[in-house]
C-alpha cells in the first residue's frame, strides 16, 4: 500500500479513537470540566501531561534544530525537561492540596486580591494563544505534507476534532484523549529511530546507538566502508570539520546565553498554566508528586531519542548528498524537492552536490543544498528506506502531538474566561450549569480563533514564542513559588513583582524582536543574554521586588498564612490558628 493510504488509515483510526474516548468521558459538572473530578490515576496523568507538553514543535522540529546546532541544541533538551524536577518538588503536590481549578484562582486566593486574578488570567490567555497558534498551523502542515489536502482544509479538520472533544469532554475528555495521543505519538517517534539505529550501529536502542560504533551494514548504508567500527559521534565530528563546520559535539554559542536560556526554559516550563493545571486532576498529594515523575519519564522517552535522531539524520543526510552527482540523488531527495523544503542549486555547474557553510542563496557561499530543518524528522523514515506504514505513522504522530497540546491550551483559555472572569469577577453568583455553558462557549470561540491563526498565520508568531516562556518564567513562577514557600509573601509584593517582571521581559523581547531587530545579536544583548533567555532575569527581578515590597507593606492576614500552612501537609490536617510561621 502507498504512503498516502497508510497515512489515511492510521490517522483515521487514531481520530476515531480520540472521538470515542471524548464521547465516553464527556463532562457533566464543572469539577469534571476543569479538573476531571480529581480522579485521574498518576500514571495516566503523567502520560496526558507528556502529550500536553510535547507539541508539534517538539515532535517535528526539535530533532532537526538539534541536528543543525550540535551541542548548543542541548538547551532545548535540558530546559524543556528540567522544569519537571521543579514541578514535582516545588509546585505539583501543593497545588493539588489547594485543590481548586485554575492558576488565576490560586493566585487570587493566595494573594487575597482580584486584581492579581485579572493579571494572571490575562497572562494565561496570552501565553496559551501564543502557543496554540503554532499548533494549529502544525496540524495544517502535517495534513498537507502527508495527506494531500490543503493546509487550510487540514486546519479545519483539526479544529472540528478539537472543538468536539474540548467542548464536550472538558478536562476529563481531554485527559483521556491525551493518553491515547501520547501512545500514538511516542510509537510514531520511536519506531523510525529504532530502525535507523539498528541499520547504522546494530544497537536497537537509539539512545545507546548514537554513542556506538558503526556496523558493516551501517558503513554500507553510508557508502563509506572506512567508517566501519568507528564511533558514530567521531565520524560525524570529522564530517562536520571536513565541511568547514565546528565539531558536532562542540558548542559555539556563548556559554552565558546557553545558561540563561536553559534556566528560562526550565522555570518557564514550571510556570506554564496548561501544565500546572494537570496537577489538579489527580486524587491525592502523593499522586501529584509521582505524576510529575511519570510525566518526565514519558517525556524523556522522546527527549532522549531526539538527540539520537539528530545525529543519525545529520550523518545520513550529509553522506547521502555531499559530493554525490545530482542525477544519482536518492529518491527521498527528489520526493521532498517537490515540497520546496529541500533543493539543489548547481552554482559551479559540475552537477555534483556540495554541502558547505552558509546559505544557498548567498553567492559567496559554496553551499549548493537547501534543507529545511523540519524534514529531519518528517523525511527520516524515507531517508532510511523504511516501510510505508512507518512513514504513515509519522503523520498520525505529528497530528497527535499538535492536537493534544492545542486541547490543553484551549482548556486554560476556556477556564480563564468562564471560571476566573465570569464566575470569579463579573457574576460571582452564577449557577454551575451556567458556568459550564460559559466554559463550553469560551472553548468553542477559542478554537475558532486558534483556527484563524492556523489559516492566516500572523508573521509574528515565531517571534512571540519567546514571550510565552519569558512571561511564564517572570510572572507565574516566582509568585506561585513564594506563595507556597513563604507565608509572609503578601499581595503588594506579588503585584509589584509580577508587574515589574512582565514589563521588563516584554520590553526586552519587544525591543529586540520588533522595535530594533537589526541589533538582535550577542554584541547588543545585556550581558550576552538573548531574548530567549531573558525570562530568568525577569524572574530574579520579580523575586527581589516581591521581597522588598513585601517587607515594607503589611503581612498577609492570619487566615492566608494558615492556608499556606495547610498546603504543606497531606491529608486532612489543618494548622491551628496559633501555629504562626
Amino acid at each position: 500500500m502507498s504512503i498516502l493510504t497508510w497515512t489515511w488509515i492510521l490517522t483515521g483510526l487514531s481520530f476515531a479513537l480520540y472521538i470515542y474516548i471524548a464521547y465516553a468521558s464527556r463532562a457533566k459538572s464543572t469539577g469534571d470540566f476543569y479538573a476531571a473530578e480529581q480522579s485521574v490515576p498518576a500514571v495516566l496523568n503523567g502520560m496526558a501531561t507528556g502529550a500536553d507538553w510535547m507539541s508539534a514543535a517538539s515532535f517535528i522540529s526539535m530533532a532537526g534544530l538539534i541536528s543543525f546546532m550540535g551541542r548548543d541544541g542541548s538547551f532545548y533538551l535540558m530546559g524543556w525537561t528540567g522544569g519537571y524536577v521543579l514541578l514535582a518538588m516545588l509546585f505539583g503536590p501543593y497545588l493539588r492540596k489547594y485543590g481548586k481549578f485554575t492558576i488565576p484562582q490560586f493566585m487570587a486566593d493566595r494573594y487575597y486580591s482580584n486584581s492579581i486574578r485579572v493579571i494572571a488570567l490575562l497572562c494565561a490567555i496570552f501565553v496559551s494563544f501564543t502557543y496554540v497558534a503554532g499548533q494549529m498551523r502544525g496540524v495544517g502542515v502535517v495534513f498537507s505534507r502527508f495527506m494531500g489536502v490543503s493546509i487550510n482544509q487540514g486546519v479545519i479538520i483539526g479544529m472540528a476534532l478539537v472543538f468536539f472533544y474540548a467542548t464536550l469532554g472538558g478536562m476529563k475528555g481531554i485527559t483521556y484523549t491525551q493518553v491515547a495521543q501520547y501512545v500514538v505519538l511516542i510509537i510514531a517517534y520511536l519506531v523510525p529511530a529504532i530502525f535507523i539505529s539498528m541499520q547504522l550501529t546494530g544497537n536497537p536502542i537509539p539512545q545507546l546507538g548514537m554513542g556506538s560504533t558503526i556496523s558493516a551494514e551501517g558503513a554500507a548504508k553510508l557508502n563509506d566502508m572506512t567508517t566501519q567500527g568507528k564511533y558514530l559521534l567521531d565520524v560525524l565530528n570529522n564530517i562536520q570539520k571536513d565541511l568547514g563546520f565546528s565539531a558536532y559535539t562542540n558548542g559555539v554559542r556563548p556559554r552565558i546565553d546557553v545558561w540563561f536560556i536553559t534556566m528560562s526554559l526550565m522555570i518557564g516550563t514550571a510556570g506554564l498554566p496548561h501544565i500546572l493545571i494537570r496537577f489538579f486532576t489527580v486524587p491525592k498529594m502523593r499522586d501529584a508528586r509521582s505524576s510529575a515523575g511519570w510525566a518526565l519519564f514519558f517525556i524523556a522517552l522522546l527527549y532522549t531519542t531526539a538527540p539520537a535522531i539528530a545525529v543519525f539524520a545529520r550523518t545520513n543526510f550529509v553522506k547521502s548528498i555531499h559530493n554525490v552527482k545530482y542525477v544519482d540523488a536518492p529518491s527521498w531527495f527528489k520526493n521532498w524537492e517537490k515540497t520546496g523544503l529541500v533543493g539543489f542549486k548547481d552554482k559551479n555547474g559540475d552537477g555534483i552536490m556540495t554541502i558547505a557553510k552558509g546559505d544557498v542563496k548567498d553567492p559567496k557561499s559554496k553551499n549548493e543544498v537547501k534543507i529545511d530543518r523540519d524534514i529531519m524528522v518528517l523525511a527520516n523514515p524515507e531517508i532510511a528506506k523504511l516501510p510505508n506504514w512507518v512513514v504513515g505513522l509519522i503523520g498520525a504522530g505529528g497530528l497527535a502531538a499538535a492536537l493534544s497540546t492545542a486541547a490543553g491550551l484551549l482548556l486554560v483559555i476556556s477556564a480563564a474566561i468562564s471560571h476566573d472572569l465570569m464566575k470569579g469577577i463579573i457574576t460571582p453568583g452564577m449557577s454551575e450549569s451556567a458556568e459550564l455553558w460559559w466554559a463550553r462557549g469560551a472553548a468553542g470561540v477559542a478554537v475558532c480563533i486558534a483556527g484563524l491563526f492556523g489559516i492566516y498565520p500572523p508573521g509574528f508568531v515565531a517571534q512571540v514564542v519567546a514571550f510565552a516562556f519569558g512571561l511564564a518564567a517572570a510572572s507565574f513562577f516566582p509568585c506561585i513559588l513564594m506563595g507556597i514557600f513563604n507565608k509572609k509573601a503578601n499581595k503588594e509584593g506579588a503585584m509589584a513583582g509580577m508587574i515589574v517582571g512582565i514589563i521588563f521581559v516584554a520590553a526586552y523581547i519587544s525591543y529586540f524582536k520588533f522595535v530594533n531587530p537589526a541589533v538582535n545579536n550577542a554584541q547588543h544583548w545585556w550581558f550576552g543574554i538573548s531574548p530567549e533567555g531573558i525570562g530568568a532575569v525577569g524572574a530574579v527581578l520579580n523575586f527581589v521586588v516581591m521581597y522588598v515590597v513585601g517587607k515594607l507593606t503589611p503581612e498577609p492576614p492570619q487566615e492566608i498564612q494558615d492556608l499556606v500552612g495547610s498546603l504543606r501537609y497531606p491529608g486532612k490536617l489543618v494548622t491551628p490558628p496559633s501555629a504562626g510561621h
Binding site: R71, N250, G293, A300, Y569, T575
Partner: protein
C-alpha cells in the same frame, strides 16, 4: 491540635525542605554545571563513545532528572508515613 503536633508538622516541613534542597543541588550540578559550565573540560573524557560533557548536555541530565523525581517521591512517601500524615 496540640502544640506537640504542631512541632511535629514543622519538623516534617523542615525535613521536606532539606530533601528538596539536596535534590535541587544535584539538579543544578548535572545540568547547569556539568552540561554547560564545565562541558568542554568534561568533553576531554570519552565514555562508551560519548564525550562526557556532551552526554550530560544531551541525555545524562534528563536521565538523572527522572531518577531525582523518583527518589524524591520515595523519600516523601516515607516521610509522610514517619509523621503519620500519609493519605489513605
Amino acid at each position: 491540635m496540640s502544640i506537640h503536633a504542631t512541632k511535629e508538622l514543622q519538623a516534617y516541613w523542615k525535613e521536606n525542605l532539606v530533601i528538596i534542597a539536596v535534590h535541587l543541588a544535584i539538579w543544578f550540578f548535572v545540568s547547569f554545571f556539568c552540561g554547560i559550565m564545565v562541558v568542554d573540560q568534561l568533553d576531554q573524557f570519552m565514555i562508551m563513545g560519548f564525550p562526557v560533557g556532551f552526554w550530560f548536555a544531551n541525555q545524562g541530565s534528563i536521565v538523572i532528572f527522572v531518577i531525582l523525581i523518583t527518589t524524591y517521591v520515595y523519600m516523601m512517601n516515607n516521610l509522610d508515613k514517619k509523621y503519620d500524615v500519609h493519605e489513605g
